[in-house]
């Protein structure tokens, strides 16, 4: 028994040291940021989502589509909280291709809230042709479609409430937008590529997309912007917005979930006592009296 335990311990130690070595050679990992939406009670910050939408509209949308989001979503509960009127006006600013009409012709009309946010390119081929051969990915699901491996055995605890960590996607996006640097001396960046610390392989087709002061945020009552107009802040705002586009029902999900879990736990508690009462006439928790089970554990 003791020998078996020693063998198990030795194997476990070997694995732990092995993973430590591996995660160390993986390069720089994105920094863990604080997000309003993380955790059991996390919610979206409406003002941040509105700023994020502004960044998307003024910067990202010149290359990246948002194919799964419709204008009306921007006014739905749990989102950026634009009013229905604002969304109608916003949609009308876009031209949407529709048709064919009764004469068989395609035509352009002003956008409606039910329309998808129009993509910058008519199709993937056009997007690729205009961007050096590779179409810029659609951003709708980006916050859930990207991640990075933390290494080690963190997966054992990362799912737990309060102590866990599951915001790798948003952290990666934030890090990537802040990860444009000059390449190290011995690193050659091929033409059409750009050096990014956090991109796998470090060569990313997208040039540095945003600079300090590029987007002008709404001013507060004192005439100063409420948040700094920096790349760091822009990337936080766009990341929060992308988390919402990826998971538009997150608030409803967490609210319903907390109620469901509390209900199930209370019900389980009541059932436990019903079970105890019913079993009391046969001697209660029978397996607890088995000496064999207790010696081993």
């Amino acid at each position: 028994m003791i020998r078996a335990r020693a063998v198990v311990a030795a194997i476990a130690a070997a694995i732990l040291s092995g993973t430590a070595a591996l995660s160390a050679e993986g390069g720089t990992l994105p920094h863990r940021e604080k997000w309003s939406f993380s955790g059991v009670f996390g919610t979206f910050d409406q003002a941040q989502l509105q700023r994020g939408f502004q960044v998307y509209r003024e910067v990202c949308s010149s290359c990246h589509g948002m194919n799964l989001v419709r204008f009306r979503n921007l006014a739905e509960p749990g989102g950026p909280g634009f009013s229905v009127g604002q969304v109608k006006a916003l949609a009308a600013e876009y031209k949407v291709k529709d048709g064919p009409n009764d004469a068989g012709d395609m035509f352009e009309r002003p956008g409606r809230p039910a329309d998808k946010i129009p993509s910058p390119f008519p199709n993937d081929q056009a997007a690729a042709a205009a961007n050096g051969g590779k179409a810029p990915p659609d951003l709708s699901l980006m916050a859930k479609a990207r991640t990075f491996a933390r290494g080690g055995l963190w997966f054992i605890t990362d799912w737990l409430p309060f102590v866990g960590y599951t915001e790798q996607g948003p952290d990666y996006i934030h890090a990537l937008l802040n990860g444009y640097e000059d390449p190290p001396k011995d690193f050659t960046v091929p033409p059409g590529g750009h050096y990014n610390v956090y991109y796998p392989g470090h060569i990313i087709a997208m040039p540095k997309p945003i600079s300090d002061g590029q987007v002008t945020y709404a001013k507060g009552p004192d005439g100063k912007p409420v948040v700094p107009e920096t790349v760091d802040q822009y990337s936080r705002d766009i990341t929060a917005f992308l988390m919402w586009t990826a998971e538009p029902h997150m608030l409803a999900r967490k609210e319903l979930g907390l109620r469901a879990i509390i209900f199930l736990l209370v019900l389980a508690g009541l059932l436990y006592y019903v079970k105890k009462k019913i079993w009391s006439d046969v001697g209660g928790e029978t397996h607890g009296l088995q000496p064999e089970l207790h010696k081993t554990s």
Binding site: M1, A4, V8, I11, I15, G18, V40, L68, N73, P137, S140, L141, K144, A145, R146, T147, D158, W159, P161, G164, T166, Q168, G169, P200, A246, P248, H249, A252, R253, K254, L256, G257, L258, A260, I261, L264, L265, L267, A268, L271, Y272, V274, K275, I278, W279, V282, G283, T286, H287, L289, Q290, P291, E292, L293, T296
Partner: protein, 428 residues
């Protein structure tokens, strides 16, 4: 089931009339009300009920999802997002179904490990046990097919890897592969037939579950002492005792399930599957869902493709041989001091294989996979036959009642005398 004499007595004239023509009420009565349950069962025995509820949950959410899903290479991904965004509570249905698969496998693994620890596979429960292995195989097929349906990157490439593996089967491999593909690669015909099969298999599972429950009610349940019910004092009627215990366990399990659905719905999936399938771009690491990782590690541990396939399927098939590989007639590992230690090493080996399956097949991981694969098979082919021959089991309690209340209060005088099983057993 007809072999069961029922204690059900129809009261009303209508009930008597009906019972004389179709004795289904009596059948339910003898199977779920009067059925004798060993009184010493612990909570590991509630996972059968949990699994039945999970199967029902998967079928109900699946039927609803199928009302909104489009099995087509161009529409599947967007239709899943349509469910997530525009269908009322569609996100709940989808997250219940996707995480439900993981919960189903957690429950089935607990159920299987309980079976192996307490020797439930041994005579007279071999057929009951093999039906369980068949259910597990069907579950694996269903889960694999279901994971391809969202048509994300991991769906597509997982389907590509697994169907390519099948091509390694001699003679019929290529035919099986093109039948599954419906063409010359994974594409639109593939997703159509995978959807069809994914809808079919759960009902086959339900059918085998009926046989599984039937076989259970012929042989009766095993229990932590591993000895049969010898008198009425060893057992309690299924209702209300087992019923209330199962209901309580199911509700606790659902609280755990709810945590995943509502608060951690994407943890058990892959980020890559939120990228639409693209045959031109291969993901950096193609990994199956967590419940397949031990088998994936076994597959990759073998340098030869066919050899890997044989061992991967062999790892499941060998489970079905356990009743004949284990030479000890003592069922419960509680009374098998040596086997019990090997059991825990085996559990560790399964977890280790799972972890290795998630790692790239290089360097020390491959070597570790090979050692763990060897041990996995050695547990069945060496440990099970050999330990049974040399181990001296602890004395078994005289009855289930005695295992609960301690010796000296023995009421039942029937059965084998205590100590008779204490000598080394050979398969007889």
């Amino acid at each position: 089931m007809s072999a069961h004499a029922t204690t059900y007595v129809p009261k009303s004239a209508l009930a008597k009339w009906f019972e004389a023509r179709l004795p289904i009420v009596g059948l339910v009565h003898s199977s779920f009300i009067a059925f004798p349950v060993p009184r010493n069962l612990n909570y590991f025995w509630t996972f059968g009920a949990i699994l039945i509820v999970m199967l029902a949950s998967q079928i109900v959410t699946g039927v609803w999802l199928a009302m909104h899903y489009q099995p087509s290479a161009t529409e599947a991904f967007n239709s899943v997002e349509h469910i997530m965004r525009d269908v009322n509570y569609g996100w709940l249905l989808r997250y219940m179904h996707a995480n439900g698969a993981s919960m189903f496998f957690i429950a089935v693994y607990v159920h299987m490990f309980r079976n192996l620890y307490y020797g439930s596979y041994k005579a007279p429960r071999e057929v009951l046990y093999i039906l369980g292995v068949i259910i597990y195989l069907l579950m694996m097929a269903t889960a694999f097919l279901g994971y391809t349906l969202p048509w994300g990157q991991m769906s597509f490439w997982g389907a590509t890897v697994i169907t390519n593996i099948l091509a390694a089967i001699p003679v019929v491999g290529d035919t099986i592969q093109s039948l599954l593909w419906g063409g010359y690669s994974v594409g639109n015909p593939t997703i159509n037939r995978f959807f069809s099969l994914h809808y079919l298999l759960p009902f086959m599972i339900a059918g085998v579950v009926v046989l599984h429950v039937w076989a259970l009610h012929v042989t009766g349940q095993n229990n932590p002492a591993g000895i049969p019910i010898k008198s009425g004092k060893d057992a309690v009627p299924f209702t209300p005792y087992a019923t209330i215990k199962d209901v309580f366990a199911v509700v606790v399990f659902f609280a755990f399930f709810a945590y995943w659905i509502f608060l951690q719905p994407n943890y058990l999936g892959h980020a890559d599957n939120y990228i639409p399938a693209n045959p031109g771009v291969t993901p950096a690491h193609i990994v199956p869902e967590w419940y397949f990782l031990p088998f994936y590690a076994i597959l990759r541990a073998v340098p030869d493709k066919l050899g890997g396939v044989v061992l991967m399927f062999g790892a499941v098939i060998i489970l079905a041989l356990a009743p004949w590989l284990d030479t000890s007639r003592v069922r419960s590992a509680n009374y098998r001091p040596i086997y019990r230690q090997f059991f825990w090493v085996f559990i560790f080996c399964c977890f280790l294989l799972g972890w290795l399956g998630s790692k790239p097949p290089e360097g020390g991981y491959v070597l570790a996979s090979r050692i763990a694969t060897f041990y996995y098979f050695a547990h069945f082919l060496i440990v099970m036959p050999v330990v049974g021959l040399f181990e001296t089991p602890k004395p078994l309690p005289g009855s289930i009642l005695e295992s609960v209340t301690g010796p000296g209060k023995q009421v039942s005088g029937s059965g084998i005398p205590a100590g008779a099983a204490a000598a080394p057993q050979t398969k007889g």
